[in-house]
């Protein structure tokens, strides 16, 4: 089998990672286990199970067959695996790396998807539990006056899923040189005259610029806006990747390679390097770049998994995703608007401004 499920060493029940406790817990015997212990216990099994060549080959054959049958090459064709707990068939997309068995609800890690060249470097474990993610979302919705009635029901978010999404991260050291015109502007008044003095400087900055943690999604099938906007993450809390962290969550493997995202990341790096040098030009009111050049001395890319609580909801026939950063709770998404209510409040504001305007006009009569 190319699948893994993490079992409690006490009762053989399924183990899941608890974001609140940062421990693996068994919901049957309530046992709690440190991540390194679970990894130690399952190391050999992971090696054995995830490299089951027969099933990996079978999965690859399914992918090829699906592609030949005309499925679009967007990673969305279905592939089946066998649940290691109950033997049921698990149907997933070709990028799914961890899921839950539809029949026995045990967490299943499709290890083959994250092994070999797809083995992530780091993983940021979930810190926000599902309950806290729901609370955050509901609290945030509570401040939104114009949500449609009935939208903010807890049942709306029962299907909140914890998903590890793949990202490319890059650190680079560059040699950069920036030439700019800096302007210092001073304004003062004397009598009925206003004086504006502009002092112009030739400004040069050059040196080594190190830029870290520039990211780009590694999964093309999900909305780029969503995957990019749930950032930032505190990467100092990232752990070396271990498959056991995925137990109890969904996970996706990358379908965008380094070469695919490199131009985007390099463009960001270029802009960030220029901005970093500009930030050292202190005391100027205006900085106009004359020339900027840089070259990369060192570059390091890593492939990491980051936690996101995700839910989709249907509104006006449209399926809209909503994401919450699984570490910090930052939310991103398109919220529906009750247009009638918003229009009524806007009209009320228009009337209030009109009345204030007329009352203010009384002062000038």
């Amino acid at each position: 089998m190319a699948t893994m499920s993490y079992k409690c060493p006490n009762c053989d029940g399924p183990l899941k990672f608890d974001p609140d406790k940062q421990l693996f817990t068994c919901e049957f015997c309530l046992g709690e286990f440190a991540p390194d212990k679970v990894q130690q216990m399952n190391e050999e099994k992971e090696q054995r199970e995830t490299y089951d060549e027969k099933e990996v080959k079978h999965a690859e054959e399914q992918q090829q067959k699906a592609q030949e049958q005309g499925a679009e090459d967007n990673g969305e064709y279905a592939v089946s695996y066998t649940c290691p707990s109950c033997g049921a068939e698990i149907v997933t997309t070709s990028t799914t790396a961890a899921t839950t068995c539809f029949y026995c609800y045990n967490p299943v890690v499709l290890g083959a998807r994250l092994s070999g060249e797809f083995n992530p470097d780091k993983v940021v474990p979930f810190e926000l539990s599902k309950e806290k993610a729901q609370e955050r979302f509901l609290a945030m919705c509570g401040k939104k006056w114009f949500l449609p009635k009935g939208f903010v029901g807890k049942e709306q978010f029962e299907k909140l899923n914890g998903v590890y999404f793949p990202y490319w991260f890059a650190d680079e050291q560059k040699t950069a040189h920036l030439t700019a015109t800096g302007k210092k502007i001073r304004t003062w008044r004397s009598g009925n005259k206003e004086y504006t003095e502009t002092r112009i400087f030739h400004v040069v900055r050059g040196g080594d610029v190190v830029i870290k943690n520039v990211f780009e999604r590694a999964l093309k099938s999900e909305s780029r806006d969503m995957l990019q906007s749930v950032h930032p993450y505190d990467l100092s809390k990232a752990q070396p990747f271990a498959m056991s962290y995925l137990s109890g969550f969904q996970a996706e493997k990358r379908d965008l390679e380094k070469a695919d995202v490199e131009p985007i990341i390099e463009q960001k790096m270029h802009e960030y390097a220029e901005q970093a040098l500009k930030n050292t030009m202190e005391g100027y009111d205006i900085i106009e770049t004359e020339s900027f050049n840089e070259h990369t001395d060192l570059a390091a890319y890593t492939y990491d998994l980051l936690p996101v609580w995700m839910v989709t909801y249907k509104y006006n026939g449209e399926i809209i995703p909503f994401a919450i950063n699984g570490q910090t709770g930052k939310a991103y998404g398109h919220l529906p608007v009750n247009k009638a209510k918003l229009a009524a409040v806007s009209a009320a504001i228009a009337v209030v401004v009109f009345i204030i305007g007329v009352l203010g006009g009384m002062l000038f009569l």
Binding site: E197, I211, K212, N279, L342, V345, L365
Partner: protein, 252 residues
């Protein structure tokens, strides 16, 4: 018992006196034709103008005054003269004055006291002048004074202006446009915020970058200074000087 009755009679008597006094105050308003420059040579015309002013005074309860001079005054001089005239004649509490300078050929309207309240914060005085100019441009001062009396009654019948309504007339369009703009801004900004919630602040460059400079240069090149004259708001209210008149019209 007797004391109580006497007290009641005293209260009634005082109340009666107050009522009579107020009635007398109302009836104290009168019309005045003070043709010091002897503009009116026709006695019939003089009498009919005086009668018209008296009728207007009766209807409005205002002191309706026509005064002619031959000083060659215009503008502020004519206004100051009119103010002084109202003060000297004890009319500063309630008067509507038409002052005409036969030498300069200029007329001016002044309001004072109670009358002033009917003209506050409105264009009414200008409207009256517009109507009187029809006569004065033809040299028909008698006709202008007759119209002055009619317009006084008309303004009185309009009542004291409600400030809010006057502001609405003057600034309603601007306030309406501002209101519509504010409403549209709230609508679209809210909609956009709901649509793109949480899109910003995804990367902290300061926290993720480090710069080690080996080339730093800040060379002064040149400087220039520009000067702008600040426009001061000019006073738009009525000019000071005298305290008697509330409003003075433009010359006509």
């Amino acid at each position: 018992m007797i004391k109580k009755t006497a007290f009641k009679i005293s209260v009634l008597a005082i109340a009666l006196m107050l009522i009579l006094a107020s009635a007398m105050m109302v009836s104290a308003a009168s019309a005045k034709m003070d043709d010091a420059a002897n503009y009116f040579t026709n006695t019939d015309q003089y009498a009919s103008v005086q009668q018209k002013l008296e009728e207007a005074s009766e209807k409005t309860g205002w002191n309706m005054v026509f005064h002619s001079v031959a000083n060659g005054y215009t503008g502020d001089n004519l206004k100051n003269y009119g103010d002084d005239y109202l003060n000297r004649n004890g009319l500063s509490d309630n008067a509507f004055l038409y002052v005409y300078d036969t030498q300069s050929g200029k007329s001016k309207l002044l309001t004072a006291g109670e009358v002033d309240k009917y003209f506050n914060n409105t264009n009414r005085l200008d409207d009256v002048v517009d109507k009187l100019e029809v006569y004065t441009t033809q040299g028909d001062i008698a006709g202008a004074v007759m119209k002055f009396a009619d317009e006084a009654v008309a303004v009185h019948d309009m009542g004291k202006p409600v400030l809010f309504v006057e502001s609405l007339k003057h600034y309603g369009i601007f306030a309406g446009l501002a209101g519509v703009a504010a409403g549209l801004i709230v609508f679209f900004v809210t909609k956009s915020r709901y649509k793109n919630m949480g899109k910003s602040g995804t990367y902290d460059l300061d926290a993720n970058s480090n710069v080690n400079l080996d080339d730093v240069e800040d060379t002064f090149v040149t400087q220039h200074t520009t000067v702008r004259t600040i426009q001061k708001d000019s006073d738009s209210g009525s000019s000071g000087g005298s305290t008697s008149s509330g409003h003075a019209s433009r010359d006509f």
